[in-house]
Symmetry: C2
Subunit: 289 residues, 2 copies
């Protein structure tokens, strides 16, 4: 029989408590890991999140910011239409934009350079946080570059789809397969890649915070979609999953720019179809107080 010597007791107790407390910690850590592991969402573009970038630049920013209060104010000139004309204009604009659809079948017919310049100038009239204008529109017409973009996107999309399928949609491979083949990236005469500048640079070289840069650039995209529709061009709003960094490097954009959206632009092909979707009626989207 073993006698309980003080030393043996000490060793046993230390071991017991050590193991108990360590197990405790590892449970906590495992909970943490589980939380961390549940965070990545393969089907949501990580590039679209910019809050982390802002955290990094927060400290040395602001100094480059020029408060709008210091800028001279000038009288605002405005065109006011008679009430009847306002109603007519707003009705016609609604009817024009209501015809807009996301079109994935785009012909290879070229579009006039001047029209693309005009629609991008129009997007550039969007408001932005502290008038930072945090957008870069990359217009790709070069067939080789379009094809390289397509290769990157299809590669990443295939992975996205396979991951999603692994989780849920194991049923219909062929149906999904058509979704990661993006022929329009070769066919469309123009690809517009919209980058948000998550920060800028002040005259002294310091980083300048771009407040609300994602919202500002998305607003500019809304105006761009309206301008394209007004010009008789079609597009589809795409947010290529996880392709941002590779496309940024391919297009030689600086690291303060992150891809927000990619719009293939052109005329619809003759056999273009769209899903038979309806829009919510006014009373489902508007509340009056």
């Amino acid at each position: 029989m073993f006698s309980l010597t003080p030393v043996l007791v000490a060793v046993v107790c230390i071991l017991i408590v050590w193991i108990y407390k360590s197990a405790d910690g590892s449970v906590e850590r495992r909970t943490g890991e589980l939380k961390a592991r549940s965070e990545p969402r393969p089907w949501v573009d990580e590039d679209l999140k910019d809050s982390t970038d802002l955290h990094q630049v927060e400290e040395d920013a602001d100094e480059g910011q020029e408060p709008e209060e210091n800028i001279e104010h000038v009288p605002f000139s405005h065109t006011q239409y008679p009430e009847k004309e306002m109603v007519k204009r707003s009705q016609e604009f609604y009817e024009l934009l209501n015809k807009r659809r996301s079109v994935r079948f785009i012909s290879n017919e070229q579009v006039p350079v001047e029209v693309i310049n005009n629609v991008i100038k129009t997007a550039g009239t969007a408001p932005s946080g502290a008038h930072t204008e945090p957008w870069t529109f990359v217009v790709v017409r070069d067939p080789d570059m379009k094809h390289k973009i397509r290769e990157i996107i299809e590669e990443e999309e295939e992975i996205n789809y396979m991951k999603r399928m692994g989780q849920r949609w194991v049923t219909d491979l062929k149906k999904l397969r058509t979704s990661w083949i993006k022929e329009y990236l070769d066919m469309a005469p123009v690809l517009i890649l919209i980058f948000k500048q998550v920060h800028g640079f002040a005259a002294n070289g310091k980083r300048k915070v771009h407040y609300y840069n994602e919202i500002s650039v998305s607003i500019a995209c809304g105006i761009l979609l309206a301008a394209l529709q007004n010009a008789g061009l079609v597009t589809v709003t795409t947010t290529p999953l996880n392709c941002g960094p590779r496309l940024r490097v391919l297009l030689s954009r600086p690291s303060n720019e992150k891809l927000l959206m990619l719009l293939p632009v052109g005329y619809p092909s003759k056999e273009a179809t769209v899903p038979d979707l309806k829009r919510k009626p006014l009373d489902e989207i508007m509340v009056t107080v």
Copy 2:
């Protein structure tokens, strides 16, 4: 003198290891707390971040999602303009939108209900992730409600400004003071509060993920700004800091809706001025490849 009995040794050892391991844990916890504490940025609206909301709903979502592949496709009909007309239309639309400015001086003249309905219908034509249409436009015309909104915003804005001043701008109190007084919230005949639905509900009552809801609603806002400008109305794009939850409750909106933007809408007052800002030229916002 105390003799080292096995029991005493056991108790002492248990205590020592317990305290040691607990201290370890509390250091870890404290590091975590510090990290958490450094995150809040008082001048960035917490309501504008929705990633956390999405994390929560991720697991039980998707089942309510109807993949677009299952919806019938119909032929797409399109109006194509001759090249000359495209150039003219795109140029005129640019000139119209380039006159848009953020106007903070709004007269109390009423605007036609039909025009507001049309501009909101137009905003509702925006594309959205998986066609979720995750927006609610709250149109406030009631003077009492407008005043309550003003009170909430001015209260919060005063705190925002004081905090920011405490950190950096201790110099010019009077100049800043004018910034948190928002007279236009009483004066403008219409306030449009735009809420993003961070998730929806499927027919079976389960939560339905609204992918890219913030980007989608921001695009809708861009189209709304274009529609307002086209109708001859003015506004200013505001993102009231930290007011989201209070305004949501005031307007009885459900908890899946978060305030994204507030637009006071009307005609400019006679003495309206705007800061003398210039927009970047095309070659600073566009790159052609």
